[in-house]
């Protein structure tokens, strides 16, 4: 029997606790703690609402190549088309019955495209066919009775400008997620999602019990809401404070927002894989990453795999651990069967299927680093860096993946041969290709290794341009038709200039010879230094500067006579702009790499329209183009025709600097302008001239792409006359060596000489009698 004292003690204990709890100090402590808790909850609530109602994710800017346009008479090569469709994740099938598939039977192509966004708006899915006859599109017709004149294929995504923490995500609204995916997700990750209030005590107790029984962690008790809170707001650290915050924030999230919003956010946020430095988030991006198609086109076994990955994207990575992934996927399928969501027969059918992954991820980091560099530079002058990285902008560029591919292949083929010739692997290259008519940059290489992401020589290698300056000198002359024409005799004899400071400038020809009197067009075709320098001095440095500026050179120009032999340093990009104006008949077309920038909803933010400005008289530009064609026909560029068909009229100019430190070539056909530089980064000498180095790469590239020759419409002010190739005098058509040249204005004042060296044919001799 308990003693009285003990009973009294027991009776006193609650009183003591009560006294302690009701003690003013204790009450104050509780009061302060309670206020702190309230303040903390208010803070958490603000955090939850701030992010959920603001911008939820940092969305990278997406960069797209040009759309391939399909229309009747479009020149299109079947293998190029297939290559493009493969890059766009189109499936080759026996019958194109679903979006994203195509069929090729003989020369008949049938395409079923997906709905997609372009700079002009949303392009609906289209089902159409056409034939390819002699590499030309014919009989384009839609298969749903509608009229189809032209179709823009989806533009290829070529890269992105990513947030500092690199994530790939494709935001999709709730309605875009197929119900089968949602069912699989909820069944596997959170069966009670529709009913709980953010936390699921039942799940927690069940998980705790299972874990205690197993003696290790075998089951989780977090709801989807908790998982979202953890990933979205908090860190992954396993601490009490994080768990407590997670619990409160989950309750708040559920209290503020409908289940559908929470689930949509989860499905766009969940981490599902890693592609190099890029983290793949959300089912939208993951379906492209693993299956190369949009989520709405995935099948049940593919949904099951995506859901299976949530547990551990690295551990269950289907590319590195296919067996684990398959097992886990089948487990998800078995849950569906157990809950009678699918029949046993369907379960058996789906578990038999393989993982159906695409060969390699298609939405990885930037494929074309040199081009992306150009795009980024252009954008950075207009947009805040943070906006570029986080606002989900869509950037539509001018890159032509087919041209880029051909350029890369040409360099890949030729560079080892040039290195061998030069007995050094230190030789580097850079190249740029633009469309003659529009100035759009179609391809760029900043290094001999196309994937190299470092120094971009196409944009940054400032190198003396050598004889590439000469077209500007000759153009300056040809712009003065009263004084100069293509047959004007120039003096190609040695000379020296002594400057006031005692320095002596004594230029030389490449062959160290004088060539006496030569017609102007031959001096350019053979790239004679002496006659060019003399001409430059005659015209004056300021006049040549003015021409260079008209052609599009914005850099500060060298004020010394050495400018006439190409001591001026320019980048390949700047050289390309210079030749763009020449190729466009004297109209300056600003080179551009971006067509349009839209926001993530497709609303246009910036356009980069086609701009054109007449800078040079078309007559003078025509004369220069004629002379540059001579360079290719019979001058320093003639070796190009070892590879090119004679029918392809091209114009261009070689450039070589002292001790062969730089090898340049700039040339164009009717469609494309390409500039190539070859040299060493340390500015060391090479064994390559413009002809034996850069021109080889240029020819290798040009011969690979179908294109039209230069087709010049002669301005009405010009007339063709016959000239003697050696003396430069007007002569008869029948004379030996007679050469037809265009003359701006009247040629009546030009000296006319009968044949000096006989007649070219017997017929010519006979004609001279009458």
């Amino acid at each position: 029997m308990p003693s009285k004292k003990t009973t009294a003690k027991k009776q006193n204990k609650p009183n003591k606790i009560k006294t302690l709890l009701t003690h003013p100090t204790c009450l104050k402590v509780f009061g302060i703690a309670f206020l702190c808790l309230i303040a903390w909850l208010i803070y958490l609530d603000a955090q939850v609402r701030f992010k959920f109602e603001g911008k939820r994710w940092a969305l990278p800017a997406e960069v797209y190549a040009r759309s391939l346009e399909i229309y009747n008479d479009k020149p299109l090569n079947l293998s190029n088309l297939q290559q493009e469709l493969t890059l766009l994740n189109f499936r080759k099938t026996n019958q194109a019955l679903s979006p994203g598939s195509y069929t090729i039977k003989g020369n008949q192509v049938e395409l079923y495209t997906r709905k997609h966004q372009t700079a002009q708006g949303v392009q609906p899915a289209a089902h159409f066919r056409f034939s390819l006859q002699g590499d030309v599109v014919q009989s384009l017709q839609a298969l749903d009775q509608s009229k189809l004149d032209l179709y823009n294929l989806p533009p290829l995504k070529i890269g992105g400008i990513y947030p500092r923490i690199k994530e790939q995500r494709e935001l999709l609204p709730y309605q875009s997620f197929p119900p089968e995916l949602i069912t699989s997700l909820l069944l596997t990750e959170d069966r009670d999602f529709k009913h709980h209030f953010g936390l699921s005590p039942y799940s927690i107790i069940r998980a705790a019990w299972a874990n205690m029984k197993a003696g290790r962690v075998v089951q989780g008790g977090s709801t989807l809401t908790q998982q979202l809170v953890k990933n979205f707001y908090l860190s992954r650290e396993r601490t009490w404070s994080r768990k407590i915050n997670e619990a409160f924030m989950s309750l708040m999230l559920e209290a503020h927002y409908p289940k559908q919003d929470i689930l949509e956010t989860y499905m766009n946020d969940v981490f599902l894989g890693q592609a190099g430095e890029l983290a793949i988030h959300g089912f939208g991006a993951a379906s492209w990453f693993y299956f190369g198609k949009e989520i709405s086109q995935c099948k049940l076994h593919e949904f099951a795999l995506l859901v299976a990955l949530i547990k551990g994207p690295s551990y269950y990575n289907p590319r590195t651990h296919p067996k684990r992934a398959l097992k886990r996927r089948n487990l998800v399928l078995s849950l569906l069967r157990d809950e009678e969501m699918i029949s046993t027969e369907a379960f058996n059918r789906f578990t038999q299927k393989n993982l159906s992954l695409i060969d390699k991820p298609k939405l990885l980091s930037n494929r074309y680093p040199a081009f992306m560099d150009l795009v980024r530079r252009q954008l950075q002058s207009e947009y805040n860096d943070e906006d570029l990285r986080t606002e989900g902008l869509r950037i539509y560029t001018t890159l032509n993946p087919q041209i880029q591919e051909q350029l890369e292949q040409a360099v890949e083929y030729r560079m080892p041969l040039l290195e061998q010739k030069n007995a050094s692997s230190e030789v580097q290259t850079a190249a740029i290709v633009t469309a003659v008519g529009t100035g759009e940059v179609l391809a760029i290489l900043g290094d001999k290794h196309a994937q190299y992401k470092g120094f971009n020589r196409a944009l940054d290698a400032n190198r003396p341009i050598g004889s590439l300056i000469k077209p500007a000198i000759y153009l300056t002359a040809l712009m003065q038709p009263e004084k100069y024409h293509l047959a004007t005799t120039l003096n190609d004899q040695a000379f020296r200039i002594e400057f006031e400071n005692g320095q002596i400038w004594e230029p030389q020809n490449f062959d160290h010879k004088d060539h006496g009197d030569v017609p102007l067009y031959r001096a350019l075709a053979n790239s004679y230094n002496l006659s060019s320098a003399r001409l430059g001095l005659e015209l004056g440095i300021e006049a040549v500067h003015a021409t260079l500026k008209k052609l599009g050179v914005t850099k500060k120009l060298n004020p010394y006579p050495s400018l006439f032999l190409g001591s001026q340093a320019l980048t390949p990009f700047e050289v390309s702009q210079l030749f763009q104006t020449i190729a466009s008949n004297g109209f300056k077309i600003k080179q551009r790499a971006i067509r349009e920038v839209t926001n993530s909803q497709g609303l246009s933010l910036s356009r980069y329209p086609f701009t054109i400005e007449q800078e040079i008289a078309p007559e003078a530009a025509y004369l220069l183009q004629h002379a540059l064609q001579e360079v290719m026909q019979s001058g320093t560029g003639r070796s190009a025709y070892w590879q090119l068909p004679k029918a392809l009229l091209v114009a261009g100019k070689t450039g070589t600097t002292n001790e062969n430190r730089d090898s340049w070539f700039a040339g164009f056909s009717g469609d494309y302008l390409a500039v190539v530089w070859v040299g060493r980064d340390d500015n060391g000498p090479t064994k390559l001239t413009g002809s034996s180095g850069a021109l080889r790469i240029w020819s290798d590239f040009i011969k690979r792409i179908p294109q039209y020759p230069i087709s010049l419409d002669k301005p009405s002010e010009l007339e063709y006359y016959w000239f003697d190739q050696v003396s430069g005098n007007r002569t008869n058509e029948q004379c030996k060596g007679a050469h037809q040249l265009p003359i701006w204005g009247s040629a009546d004042h030009l000296d006319f000489h009968e044949c000096n060296k006989g007649y070219s044919t017997v017929r010519g001799w006979l004609q001279s009698w009458f």
Binding site: S235, A279, D713
Partner: protein, 172 residues
């Protein structure tokens, strides 16, 4: 009352603590997004002060226009199968509806397909003329003049429009 609050709090902590030992997903290499709050509205995207050589259009062409239905257009009776003719008809239609941006899109597509078609440059000049970008209109007419065949109607029209613009510019 305080005791009740304490008990509720303690139970929540206990329950969540149980869950903390049962984290379902395996550790992974996922990195957190650093939240950067920028207005959802696109107007919030700030451009740097030094605006480059992008043409400054009147505000009217910034207004959203319908997407370009180049693919299917049933209501047009097209005169020929030539794609440039087709695009010109569509551009003309958009021009007559004063859909400048849409007209530009179509014309630029036409220039990409055939940069030597004088009619395209004429219409492009008309667009610039309508929206008051006279210098660009002049450039486009000059290109049209250069490309048009000698003695053609386009050549004559381009010449007369260039004369009008020259007069305008000299008066300014």
């Amino acid at each position: 009352m305080v005791l009740k609050c304490f008990v509720i709090l303690a139970s929540i902590i206990f329950l969540t603590a149980c869950g903390s030992h049962a984290i379902k997903t395996l550790p992974s290499v996922k990195q957190r997004v650093i939240p950067v709050v920028i207005e959802k509205n696109t107007a919030g995207i700030k451009k740097n002060a030094e605006k480059p050589e992008v043409l400054d259009y009147p505000s009217t062409i910034r207004s959203p226009e319908p997407p370009l239905p180049i693919t299917r257009d049933l209501d047009l009776d097209l005169p020929s199968n030539n794609i440039i003719d087709t695009l010109l008809v569509k551009a003309q239609k958009a021009f007559s509806l004063q859909q400048w941006l849409r007209t530009q899109h179509i014309l630029e597509q036409a220039i990409r397909l055939d940069p030597n078609e004088s009619r395209v440059f004429m219409l492009y000049g008309d667009v610039y003329s309508e929206i008051g970008v006279t210098k660009q209109a002049q450039n486009m007419y000059q290109r049209a003049l250069y490309l048009a065949t000698e003695g053609s109607e386009i050549k004559a029209t381009a010449r007369s429009k260039l004369d009008v613009i020259s007069n305008q510019l000299s008066e300014d």
